[in-house]
Amino acid sequence: MAQAVTAPGAVAKRRSVKSIYPTWFYLPAGLLYVVLFALPTFASFYFAFTRWSLQDVEFTGWENFVTFFSEPQLRTGFINTFVYGFVTSGAKVVLGLALAVLLTSQLIGRGYLRSVVFFPVLVSAIGVGITFKVLMDPFDGLINESLSALGITGPAWLTDPQWALMSVALIDVWKGVGIATLIYIAGLAAIPQEYYEAAKVDGAGGWKAFRSITLPLVRPATATVILLSLIGGLRSFDLIWATTRGGPGFTSDVIASVIYKQYQAGFYGLSTAGNVVLFLVVTAIVVPISTLLNRREVER
């Protein structure tokens, strides 16, 4: 009885604390997330240890993982994933920052340049892949024809085992450098102009100002670029599949393409083991780098 008789003010206060922001707002999104994302992720840690045909499951222990690391083509895919992730990420940081510095300086055609650098981001990976497959054709492709006009013999790009992975990485950078550039432009815009003026008064040259002002202050943008491009690069599948399908042989395979190949071949357990390996690789690289980058930022 005593609880029922409360002052109107108290009721309003209790309502506002308890239910203006109801927890059930999490439910619809949470339901999708749990059923279609979390549940399969947890299940993968079981199915990775099985021989699996979607109907029948047979527990086989570590067999899939042993296969994964003993078959040379699967091991190549494992190593290539790191190479691809770090090469594309590094190139996007360097080129993205260079382009951003260029595109925030005074020069003609700045608006045009910004749009043109960004546009490939919006084209589908499969479209870009097919286009570059033609452009990088060893004999008739535009790239090698232009190079030979300059007296250079171009490599066989996507069809050369030595070059295939790097060629795909090159296309990836071409397609993705626009995002890195934009992130850096936003980061550069947040640096107060006074710092550069003060540095100028103190007699610092362009390079010195870049080293001591731009580089440290653009750090949040660098962190974003590194993390985004690593997450994308380590998981990368569509561009590789559109250009080389992991070939020639299996020289440009990555974990994500191994997962697809094993899935196509009907080795669902092995494919899922690949997924677990990819999960571990991505978390083992991204999580420490993310904490490292964020910690330094706080210290500053």
Partner: protein
Amino acid sequence: MRNRPREIVLGTVAILASVVVFIVPFVFIFLTAAKTPAEAAEFGFSLPTEWAIWDNLTTVLTVRNNLIVRAFVNSTVITVLSVALMVVLAAMVGYVLQRRRSRWNHVVNFFVLAGLIVPPAVVPTIWVMQGLGLFKTIPGMILIEATFGLSFCILLFRAFVSTIPKELDEAAWIDGAGPLRVFFSVVVPLLRPVMVTVVVVQAVNVFNDFTGPLYFLPGDDNATVQLTLYNFQSQTMSQWNLLFMDILLITIPPLVMYIFFNRQIVAGMTSGAVKG
């Protein structure tokens, strides 16, 4: 005085380089799409001796019982519905997550970040979808795209909700509006700028998605535009003109999006760059 020689020289060099690196590939797509099959197979960067752009267009659109037209319909349906779903659900989460400080926050934040980093487990997802009767269906694909896009949207919404004064929702609350009413008639209209960003960025992502449909929507019946390109590549290998016409066609929707929503796309892609 504004255009000093250095700016002009630097700008000109940059423009020339950009033409070689970025414009030439797109012109190449267009030129190849306008050539006859024999000429397209030469891979040359030249004007077509015979313009076949109209022929190629009609051939591509009608090949295999209008497959591409149907694929465009499928892709549009999937894009529109999945983006609508993820925007509404993510806005609800981002709003409560920002407004309410509770012990749930850590848990929810953790799962949001996990959703951004963790690669989806492919075959187990197919297994779950088969159990629900969603595998190889358009509704299934819509739900998958919505789920995979949630985390990114939640982060953007959470950041934006913090710029809306809390007093606004509290005023509506004291006037007697329920939580749904407060959210949909007070908060959602104020979310408009970030809504546009999220919708445009995710629409381009879903429309361009290849891996998703490859795994979860195989087969010609429900093909999406990216899959037609992939299937074309394996089946009509000799007809490069048609392949490039297809590339040209499926590049137009994102291009149009970019022309109209340039600013929002840029805002979405660069969010978090300054704050880290």
